[in-house]
C-alpha cells in the first residue's frame, strides 16, 4: 500500500482544523464571505477522500488502514491511534455528504453568522470524523463530547428562545448521557486496565467469571443507557424532537442527517460489533426491545405531528430503531442491513430536512396542515420528497428497500417471525406519516395563500437532486455495494 494512502487519512482530521485556522486568521470580513463555500468544499473533499479510500482498500484487499495522529502506533500502553475500515469510511462519506448539504443550503438560512456557523460546524465535523476513526473507548468519549459541545451551541446559534430551549435540553440530556458513559468506561477500565477495542472485547465472553461481575453489569447498563440517550431511543428520546424542531434549518439537517447517528448509532454499532464480539444475548435483547419500542413509538407519534421538522424528528426515532434492530440481531446480515440503513437514513433524512427547509423558506411555515398543492410550484422539491420517503418506507428498487429487507430477514432468522412482523407492520406506519406529509404539503388542492410561491433556490434544488440521485443509484447498484462489503470482510 502506498504511503500517501495512510497520509491522506489525516485529511479527515486535518481539513476541519485547517479551515478553522485559516478562517480565524483571514479576518472577519473575508471569513464571512468565504466561510460557507469553504465549508461545502470540505464536505466534497471528505466525500471524495472516503470514496477513494474505499476503492483503495478494496484494491489492496485490506480490511482497514491504521494510522496515528500524535502518537506512534508502536507505543504499547495508552497509545491511541486511528483506524479506518469500510464502515468508518461509509460513515465518513455520510458526514461529508450531509456537511455538503448543510453548507450548500445554509447560504440563505444563516446570513450574518456564517463565520461562527462554519467554525462550529468544523468542530462538529472534527468530532464526528474522530468518532469514526478512533480505536478505543476513551477517545470515542472525547470526540463524543467535542461533537456534543458544538451541537449545543449550533442549535441555539440564532439566540432565540426556541433555539436556546432546544439546545439547553440537548445539553442537559447529553450531559447525563456523558456521565453515564464516563461511569461505564471507568467501571470497565477497573476490570480490564485498558479501553482499547481489542483489549476489552475479552470481557464480553467471560465477564461472569471476572472478579466483580456486578460492576461490569452496571457498566453495561450505563453504557446502553448513555448511548441510547445519545441516539434517541425510546424512552430516552425526549430531547430529540424538541432539538430538531428548534434548530435552524442547516443545523437540523446536520443533526437529523448525521450527528445523532454518529454519536449514538455509530457508537452502538461499534460497541456491539467490536467490543462484544460474541454476541451477548442480554445486551442484544435489551437493544432489540428498545429498538422495537422506538420503531413503534416514533412511527405512531409521527403520524399525528403538524410540524414538518418535528415529524422528521419522530421519524428519525423510528428509523434509528430499525438500525438498532438490525444490530441487535448480532448476525452478519443484520450488520450489513444496519450499516446500509445508516447510510440510507443519512441520505433520505437529509433530503427530507432539506425539503423542509426549502418549504419553510418559501412559505414561511412549517405547519403541514396549512399547506397544500405545492407540487406544482415546487416540482423538484416535491419529487425529491417522494423519492426520499419511498426509500424510507422501503419501496423497491430504492436504497431503503434493500436495507430494510436485510434487517427484517436478519430479525426473522434470529428472533423469529413475530418480531419481524412487528417491524414490517411498523413500516406501514412509516408510509402512513410520510404519505400524510406528501398529501398535505405537495398534493391536493392549491392553497390560495401560496399561489405565487416559487421553487426553492438553486442551493436547495441541487442538493435535493444530488441526494435523490444517490438514493436511486444506491438502490440500483446495491448488489455491487454488497459485493464490495463482502470482499472487505468488514461485516
Amino acid at each position: 500500500m502506498p504511503a500517501y494512502f495512510a497520509t491522506s487519512m489525516y485529511a479527515f482530521m486535518g481539513a476541519p482544523l485547517l479551515v478553522i485556522l485559516v478562517l480565524t486568521l483571514a479576518g472577519r470580513k473575508l471569513a464571512e464571505k468565504w466561510a460557507l463555500t469553504v465549508g461545502y468544499i470540505v464536505g466534497i473533499i471528505q466525500m471524495l477522500t472516503s470514496i477513494i479510500a474505499i476503492i483503495l482498500l478494496w484494491q489492496y484487499n485490506k480490511a482497514s488502514i491504521t494510522f496515528s495522529q500524535f502518537w506512534s502506533i508502536q507505543a504499547n500502553d495508552g497509545a491511541a491511534y486511528f483506524s479506518a475500515d469500510v464502515f468508518s469510511l461509509i460513515a465518513l462519506f455520510c458526514i461529508g455528504m450531509v456537511t455538503f448539504a448543510a453548507f450548500y443550503t445554509a447560504k440563505t438560512m444563516i446570513g450574518k453568522k456564517a463565520f461562527q456557523f462554519t467554525n462550529l460546524m468544523m468542530v462538529m465535523i472534527l468530532g464526528m470524523n474522530g468518532l469514526a476513526l478512533v480505536t478505543d473507548l476513551f477517545s470515542l468519549y472525547v470526540f463524543l463530547e467535542i461533537t456534543g459541545v458544538s451541537s449545543y451551541v449550533l442549535i441555539s446559534i440564532n439566540r432565540d428562545n426556541k433555539g436556546l430551549e432546544g439546545g439547553f435540553k440537548y445539553l442537559i440530556m447529553s450531559a447525563i448521557a456523558s456521565a453515564f458513559i464516563l461511569v461505564s468506561l471507568a467501571l470497565i477500565f477497573i476490570n480490564t486496565g485498558s479501553l482499547r477495542y481489542e483489549d476489552i472485547s475479552a470481557i464480553s465472553s467471560s465477564w461472569m467469571e471476572l472478579s466483580n461481575p456486578i460492576l461490569i453489569l452496571v457498566a453495561f447498563v450505563f453504557l446502553i443507557c448513555g448511548f441510547s440517550i445519545k441516539s434517541g431511543l425510546v424512552p430516552f428520546h425526549g430531547w430529540l424532537p424538541d432539538a430538531y424542531q428548534s434548530a435552524p434549518a442547516p443545523v437540523s439537517i446536520m443533526l437529523g442527517g448525521i450527528v445523532t447517528k454518529m454519536v449514538g448509532v455509530y457508537a452502538i454499532i461499534r460497541i456491539v460489533s467490536n467490543l462484544l464480539v460474541e454476541s451477548d444475548t442480554v445486551v442484544n435483547t435489551c437493544f432489540m426491545v428498545l429498538a422495537l419500542m422506538s420503531i413503534i413509538y416514533g412511527a405512531v407519534a409521527a403520524a399525528g405531528q403538524k410540524d414538518f421538522k418535528r415529524l422528521l424528528g419522530y421519524s428519525s426515532i423510528s428509523q434509528i430503531g430499525y438500525i438498532i434492530l438490525g444490530v441487535s440481531t448480532g448476525n452478519i446480515l443484520g450488520y450489513i442491513g444496519a450499516i446500509f440503513h445508516f447510510f440510507n437514513h443519512a441520505t433520505f433524512k437529509t433530503t427530507l430536512f432539506v425539503n423542509s427547509a426549502a418549504v419553510e423558506q418559501q412559505t414561511g411555515l412549517s405547519d403541514i396542515t396549512k399547506m397544500g398543492g405545492l407540487h406544482k410550484q415546487m416540482p423538484i422539491t416535491g419529487t425529491s420528497n417522494i423519492i426520499a420517503f419511498l426509500s424510507a418506507v422501503g419501496i423497491p428498487p430504492l436504497a431503503g428497500f434493500w436495507s430494510k429487507l436485510f434487517i427484517i430477514i436478519a430479525v426473522w432468522q434470529t428472533n423469529g417471525a413475530i418480531i419481524a412482523s412487528i417491524a414490517l407492520v411498523a413500516s406501514i406506519f412509516t408510509a402512513v406519516y410520510f404519505l400524510r406529509i406528501q398529501k398535505n404539503i405537495f398534493f391536493g388542492p392549491v392553497n390560495e395563500k401560496f399561489a405565487d410561491i416559487k421553487e426553492a433556490v438553486k442551493g436547495f434544488k441541487l442538493t435535493e437532486i444530488a441526494l435523490s440521485v444517490i438514493t436511486i443509484g444506491c438502490g440500483l447498484l446495491f448488489p455491487v455495494l454488497l459485493l464490495l462489503l463482502q470482499a472487505q470482510g468488514i461485516v
Binding site: 435540553k169 440530556m173 425526549g238
Partner: protein, 628 residues
C-alpha cells in the same frame, strides 16, 4: 357431383373438409364486414353466397363418409380434433339448410336497416361456430365454439338496441351461467372418462362425481336450447332483436345445438337408463318447461312474443322425450327438434313478414291480414297446424312418439304433454284467428291499399319450410331413417316410421285438439273477438293472479338471480364499509389518541424527560437482572 367435390377437397390438397366448414363462413364473414356500407347489394349477395357455399359443403359432407381430423394442440389431451359421423352429418346439413333459408329471408328483411352489415357478419360467424361445435370431437374444442356463440348471441341481441343493452345483458348472463355449468360438466366428464376425445367417452357410470358431471352438462345443453330456467331472455329478445335473429338463433341453431349435445350426453357419454332418478329429473324439467311456457304463450298479445314462448315450450317436449331414455322418446325428441326448427322458423318468418308489411306484430293493432297476405297466411296455417300436432303434418308424428314415451315413463308426464298440446293448439287458434282472420284492422299509419304480400325472397323460405312441414309429416320415414340408426343397438330393431302405432294415443290427441277448437269457439262466442278467445282461461280466478305475477317478471329466474346478486353485493358493500370503518375511523382515532398521549408526554418539560430517562434505565437494569 358432391362426391367429386368431397374427394377433391379431401384428397389432393390435403385440406380437410371439416376445417373448411369452419373457416369458410368465418372468412366470408370478415370479407362481408369490409365491403363498404353503401353497397348493401354486394354485402347481401356475398352473404347469400357464403350460406350457399356452406350448404354445398354440408351436402358434400352429408353424402361423404365418416371422417376425423386431429391436430395436436395442447397438453392434457386437448387436441384440435374434428369428427363427422352420421348424427353430425345430419345436423350440419340441417343447420346449413336453415341458415340458407333464413339468410335468403334476411336479405329482404334487413334492407334499409342500419345494422344489416353487423347482422350479416354475426350471422356468418355464428354459422362457423355452430359448424365447429357440431363437428368438434374434443370437449375443450367444443366448449371453445360453444362459448364463441355467446359473443355472437350478445352481438346480435345488441345491434339495433345499443342504447338499451339490458336484454343483451340478460341473454349473455343467462347463457353465460349455462355455459359455466357446461364448463364444469366438461371438466368433470373429462376427469371421469380420462380423456377429452368425445368419441372415446362412453357410458360413464352415474355415481358420485358422475352425477354432478351429468347434471352440469345436461343443464348446459338445455340452457343453450332455451329451456327453463335459462329461458327468460328469449321473450325479451323477441321484442327487440331483429326478427331473422330470432328465427335463426333461439328458434333454430341453438335448439339444434342444445338437443344435439343433450342427446350425446344422454345417449353415449353417460350411462343414462330409463326410470332412473336423473331420468325423472330431466323429464320433470321438460314437463315444467313445456307447460309453464305454453301457459305464458297463451296470454301473449304480441305475435313475436307469443312465438318465442312457444319456442321455449317446444324444447320441453324434446327434453321430455330424450329424458325418458327410451328409444322411442329419444327418436321422438330428435325428430321433434328437426320438426320444431322447421315450423318455428316458418312461424317466425311469417311474423317477420307481418312486421315488415304492417309495421307491427301487436295483435291489438292488426287483424284480418289474410286478405292481403294470402301466401303468408297459408304458410302460417300449415306451420301452426304442424306445431299443434294435427295429422298429417310433421309435428303430429314427433309428438305422438313423445306422448308414447311419456306415457310409458309416467302418467303425470303424459298429462303434462297433453295439457301442453291443448294449450299450444288453443294459443295458435287464437293467434291465427286474431292475426289473419276476422275484420280488417291495421295500424293507423298503414293504409289499406298499401298492404300487400311480402316480397318473393321472403316468401320463398316460408314456402319451402311449409312444404317441409308437410313433407316430413307425410314422408316421415325419410327423416326417421336418418334418425333411427343413431341409436344403434338400443333401438332393438324397432321402426317408428309411418302412422303412429298406438291408435288410442292418436285418438286422445285428436280429442284434445277438438277440445281446443271447442274451447276457442266458446271463447270467441263469449267475447266476439279472436284475440280474446282464451280470456276465460287468462282471467280464471286464481290463475289470473299467477299470470299477473308472471307478467311482472316475478318468476323470472334472471330477476331472482339478479336479486341474489344484489343481496350479495349489498353484503359485500356492508363488509367493505366495515373494513373502511376500521381504516378510516378506528385506525385514525387510535393513532390520534396515541399521538395525543405521546404529545402530552413530549410536553417540552426537561424534568419529565429526565424522569422518563431514568425509568428507561431502571427498565434496562431490570431486563439485565431478569435475563441473566
Amino acid at each position: 357431383m358432391f362426391n367429386a367435390l368431397n374427394s377433391l377437397i379431401t384428397s389432393g390438397s390435403g385440406v380437410n373438409l371439416l376445417i373448411i366448414m369452419i373457416i369458410v363462413p368465418a372468412l366470408l364473414a370478415l370479407i362481408t364486414i369490409i365491403i363498404p356500407k353503401r353497397s348493401y347489394f354486394g354485402r347481401a349477395i356475398l352473404f347469400l353466397i357464403a350460406t350457399v357455399v356452406n350448404l354445398l359443403f354440408a351436402i358434400s359432407l352429408f353424402v361423404g363418409e365418416e371422417m376425423t381430423m386431429l391436430i395436436p394442440w395442447a397438453d392434457f389431451g386437448i387436441n384440435l380434433s374434428l369428427r363427422v359421423y352420421d348424427f353430425s352429418q345430419f345436423m350440419v346439413l340441417a343447420a346449413a339448410c336453415f341458415a340458407f333459408l333464413v339468410a335468403l329471408y334476411s336479405i329482404s328483411f334487413m334492407r334499409n336497416k342500419s345494422y344489416s352489415g353487423k347482422f350479416f357478419f354475426y350471422y356468418l360467424i355464428t354459422l362457423a361456430l355452430v359448424n365447429g361445435a357440431l363437428l368438434a370431437n374434443n370437449l375443450v374444442v367444443m366448449l371453445f365454439f360453444w362459448e364463441g356463440l355467446l359473443v355472437t348471441l350478445f352481438g346480435m341481441t345488441i345491434i339495433g338496441n345499443a342504447k338499451r343493452p339490458a336484454v343483451a345483458m340478460k341473454a349473455l348472463i343467462l347463457n353465460g351461467v349455462a355455459d359455466l355449468l357446461l364448463m364444469f360438466g366438461i371438466a368433470i366428464t373429462a376427469m371421469q372418462a380420462g380423456t377429452m376425445a368425445m368419441d372415446m367417452i362412453v357410458d360413464i357410470p352415474m355415481e358420485g362425481l358422475g352425477i354432478v358431471g351429468f347434471v352440469c352438462m345436461m343443464l348446459g345443453a338445455i340452457g343453450k336450447a332455451g329451456s327453463m330456467p335459462f329461458h327468460s331472455w328469449i321473450p325479451d329478445a323477441a321484442e327487440q332483436a331483429p326478427l331473422p335473429f330470432m328465427a335463426i338463433l333461439p328458434a333454430a341453431l341453438e335448439k339444434m345445438l342444445g338437443i344435439y349435445l343433450l342427446v350425446r350426453v344422454c345417449l353415449t357419454f353417460y350411462d343414462f337408463t330409463p326410470g332412473s332418478t336423473l331420468s325423472i329429473v330431466v323429464m320433470a324439467i321438460g314437463a315444467i318447461t313445456l307447460v309453464l311456457a305454453v301457459a305464458m304463450a297463451l296470454i301473449q298479445k304480441d305475435m313475436k312474443k307469443l312465438l318465442s314462448y312457444h319456442a321455449i315450450s317446444q324444447v320441453g317436449y324434446m327434453i321430455l322425450g330424450i329424458g325418458t331414455a327410451l328409444p322411442v322418446g329419444i327418436v321422438g325428441g330428435i325428430f321433434h327438434m328437426i320438426n320444431h326448427v322447421i315450423y318455428k322458423c316458418c312461424l317466425f318468418l311469417t311474423a317477420g313478414s307481418v312486421e315488415k308489411q304492417a309495421g307491427t306484430t301487436d295483435l291489438n293493432k292488426i287483424s284480418g291480414l289474410g286478405r292481403f297476405m294470402p301466401i303468408t297466411a297459408i304458410c302460417f296455417i300449415i306451420a301452426a297446424l304442424s306445431i299443434s300436432g294435427v295429422p298429417p303434418f310433421n309435428g303430429f308424428f314427433s309428438k305422438e312418439l313423445i306422448f308414447d314415451a311419456a306415457l310409458e315413463s309416467g302418467v303425470i308426464f303424459y298429462i303434462a304433454a297433453i295439457l301442453g298440446a291443448f294449450l299450444t293448439a288453443a294459443s295458435f287458434l287464437k293467434l291465427g284467428h286474431a292475426a289473419f282472420f276476422g275484420p280488417v284492422k291495421l295500424p293507423e299509419d298503414v293504409r289499406e291499399k298499401d298492404m300487400m304480400e311480402a316480397p318473393g325472397a321472403m316468401l320463398l323460405p316460408m314456402i319451402v319450410l311449409a312444404a317441409f312441414c308437410i313433407f316430413f309429416g307425410v314422408g316421415n320415414a325419410i327423416p326417421l331413417s336418418i334418425i333411427q340408426p343413431l341409436l344403434g343397438d338400443a333401438l332393438g330393431g324397432a321402426n317408428f316410421a309411418g302412422w303412429p302405432h298406438s291408435t288410442v294415443l292418436v285418438l286422445i290427441s285428436i280429442g284434445v285438439l277438438l277440445l281446443a277448437v271447442l274451447n276457442h269457439y266458446l271463447g270467441y262466442r263469449r267475447t266476439g273477438e279472436g284475440i280474446k278467445a282464451v280470456d276465460h282461461i287468462h282471467y280464471l280466478p286464481g290463475l289470473h293472479q299467477v299470470y299477473n305475477c308472471a307478467e311482472k317478471h316475478y318468476f323470472d329466474p334472471y330477476n331472482i338471480l339478479m336479486l341474489l346478486f344484489k343481496f350479495i353485493s349489498y353484503l359485500c358493500f356492508a363488509i367493505d364499509r366495515c373494513i373502511n370503518w376500521i381504516y378510516d375511523v378506528l385506525f385514525v382515532k387510535t393513532i390520534q389518541g396515541a399521538t395525543t398521549a405521546m404529545k402530552n408526554f413530549n410536553s417540552g418539560s426537561t424534568s419529565r424527560y429526565i424522569a422518563w430517562m431514568f425509568t428507561g434505565m431502571a427498565f434496562v437494569l431490570m431486563m439485565f437482572i431478569l435475563l441473566l
